[in-house]
Symmetry: C3
Subunit: 310 residues, 3 copies
């Protein structure tokens, strides 16, 4: 049985590995600036998206191309004919394994990536599994913070929005738990608060955090405002949704009350929760953040292929 | 801010640039005959199709591969998960820009390509924007005419069918307006006549044209018969549609009345408006026209990447 | 007119060609083990799937990438916009021909691949045409048998399940008809028996076969058990389906009654007709079979491109 390096969840990363990964991502930036390289020419990545996520998929596929590799895949579960015929995920993965060198997988069910990794004989990268984890998003978020501030230790970070169902804030919390003197503010409507299991993890790791539904009170003290989408369907009525979401709009006015060296992040897509008048402010880091996804994913694909060979 | 060369509409092309483009397309024919080359190895094209257009998409993707490049993309808007979540086109383009070196975009809305070009930091090629323009189709049409006749100046060209909604005839008119002594016959049912703004443009450029709904009367004198599909849904009743579309069938009988050195073009797909007995006539140039799309698109992709670099 | 080598149906293969193909597939295994090669760099394959078949498509696309080539294509007919607009298959193929070097085509209609080959000026590989044929599946099945036993001559092979509509058992029968002293057991519910035209072909070729609905009676004597899915929708009622399908489950108990050197095959996906407790038995050859699809398809693509050139 050969050794495989998978990317399944944010908790698998200890600080030293994170630092190595961020250094590798930095190198990838330089490689892309030079037009990519051909180090994985002849290698194939399978994009196995059982749920559409065009942005994430394109980012991974671009990453593989920039490393010289090829891509096969499927855009959407509804196209995956074997699943329709009743095939188990395990059977699908066993067979797909034979066709490529790394699988990038998005699935609707929690734990799907782990199930895949159990039977695959090539590395698996979790590109989101239902309400579970989205580790590559969290890694690019953390990479962006380190790049913007030169460090993560000591920063005050507010995560804003739907913290119950937004898997990226869970994964990002697990990553941040590796750093020193971090303070996390969880800011959400009352019905979509950060889950207990995340708080428990932070407690175990000795990370300070606070919960509130008052963004204004912390706006002036934080280094990072991590905004997310609030999903309408979580609320009992449109009125309650509008009341809740209206509390957490990031606009030019809020920005005025923030520190001059703070940054605003968002996993994107946004749908009104950051207004367009924020875009031109240098503290609006979400488009810089988006392109960092390419470098992190290049570094992860490279690591999966390299550390799983030989 | 770097200089970007976009392909947004047919009006952007002056005669000199057209001639250079056609020369480049001719070179691409030779390159394809030799099996393609690798000049854009490591470069990536994004196929961003918010509306399915398999033929056009495959033609662009083939073009990029023949130049050695890679392709990422999405077949269909309904798959584009960020748009479904309410993301603006501008946000999508800002992010996709970071993943590749050129964007080929098909959209359902007029002006979408221009909006994309405004925020992209890589070149954008308009592969059709709603009832707006389809410049690469018009360029391949004009290239076909020049190749078949060795010139465009002085030719008599009939455009037939739905001239109101058929965007290719608009774009082709703008291209032809660069040439000398061209005469255009617009031949359509009364309810889908060529729009005033196209006629106004032709007037300004001093191009002769005539409007009629009588194909037979001009068949004997024209050099180029550019046939298009008449879309059933434009007509108030099936009877009226059948009466209108029946007037404009190109069949062996019509061909008998045409000049021996004339040609028949069609942007394809066809649905009965050119009968199959025409296919074997050497004047049936529509399949030769289709493959010219590959060479023109290779030339355009090459130009976009080359002139946007450095 | 240039010579084209197409793969349209299983009957086109005589024994000598099969042996050459199997030797080529064996070489492809070694090439994949070394990380693929670049022999078809710059060549393009079009994946033209008018019906979703993710597994088969990915297998072909992986094959082309392992040979250094590029891939363009469409996942699903419902996306194929020209067909929606009423274009004939022949027109589609004439145009697509200009974009690539080989077409792999899955279609819902019997005979579609042959119609495509008639107008294409590049080679066509039939990846399944309705209830017609699926020759590349049959070739990988036969390759698996030869690899597992070192021969095909003299083997006793049971085909189990829906033999009326399961096109792979038809194609496999035609391949097996090239070998000596083969004995085929057709084992099916009464309403989905092997068609007369297949039996007639076997008679003409002098191949021994028997029909039964009793799997248990032959389990102890066969070398190969080729299991297939029984499709629920073929049966008048759920009760009759369950009665029929229940007869033909391959489980650990059945395996106990089989020869120690027998193998179990399945074209996959499975949906309960081979239980998971069989997977760990060395006689369960269906996952080895699946990966053989890659090598056979590499050999076929290579043959199509090489023998159609020059």
């Amino acid at each position: 049985m050969k050794q495989l390096y998978h990317v399944l969840g944010a908790k698998q990363f200890a600080r030293e590995e994170l630092e190595q990964l961020f250094d590798a991502a930095r190198e990838m930036e330089e490689i892309v600036a030079r037009g990519g390289d051909r180090r994985h020419e002849g290698r194939i990545m399978t994009s196995l998206f059982f749920e559409a996520s065009t942005r994430t998929r394109l980012s991974f596929e671009s990453a593989m191309h920039r490393l010289g590799g090829g891509v096969i895949g499927t855009e959407n579960a509804s196209q995956f004919s074997s699943a329709i015929k009743g095939e188990t995920l395990e059977d699908t993965i066993r067979i797909i394994s034979g066709y490529s060198d790394v699988i990038v997988m998005r699935h609707t069910e929690i734990g799907a990536a782990k199930r895949a990794a159990r039977v695959a004989d090539i590395p698996v990268i979790n590109a989101g599994d239902g309400a579970g984890e989205h580790p590559t998003q969290a890694l690019l978020d953390a990479y962006t913070i380190r790049k913007e501030f030169g460090k993560i230790d000591g920063l005050h970070i507010a995560m804003v929005g739907d913290l119950a169902y937004g898997r990226t804030v869970h994964s990002l919390s697990y990553i941040l738990a590796n750093y020193q003197d971090v303070m996390v503010h969880y800011i959400s409507p009352n019905n979509v608060r950060i889950p207990d299991n995340v708080k428990k993890y932070m407690d175990e790791k000795g990370i300070r955090y606070a919960e509130t539904n008052d963004l204004d009170s912390v706006a002036g003290s934080i280094d990072v405002l991590y905004q997310t989408r609030i999903q309408k369907e979580r609320f009992p009525s449109v009125e309650e949704y509008e009341k809740a979401s209206g509390q957490f709009i990031v606009d030019a006015e809020l920005l005025d009350r923030m520190r001059k060296d703070a940054i605003v992040l968002h996993p994107l897509p946004r749908a009104g929760e950051i207004t367009e008048d924020v875009d031109s402010d240098p503290r609006a880091a979400y488009f810089r953040q988006a392109v960092n996804g390419l470098y992190i994913r290049m570094a992860l694909i490279d690591k999966c292929i390299t550390e799983s060979r030989g």
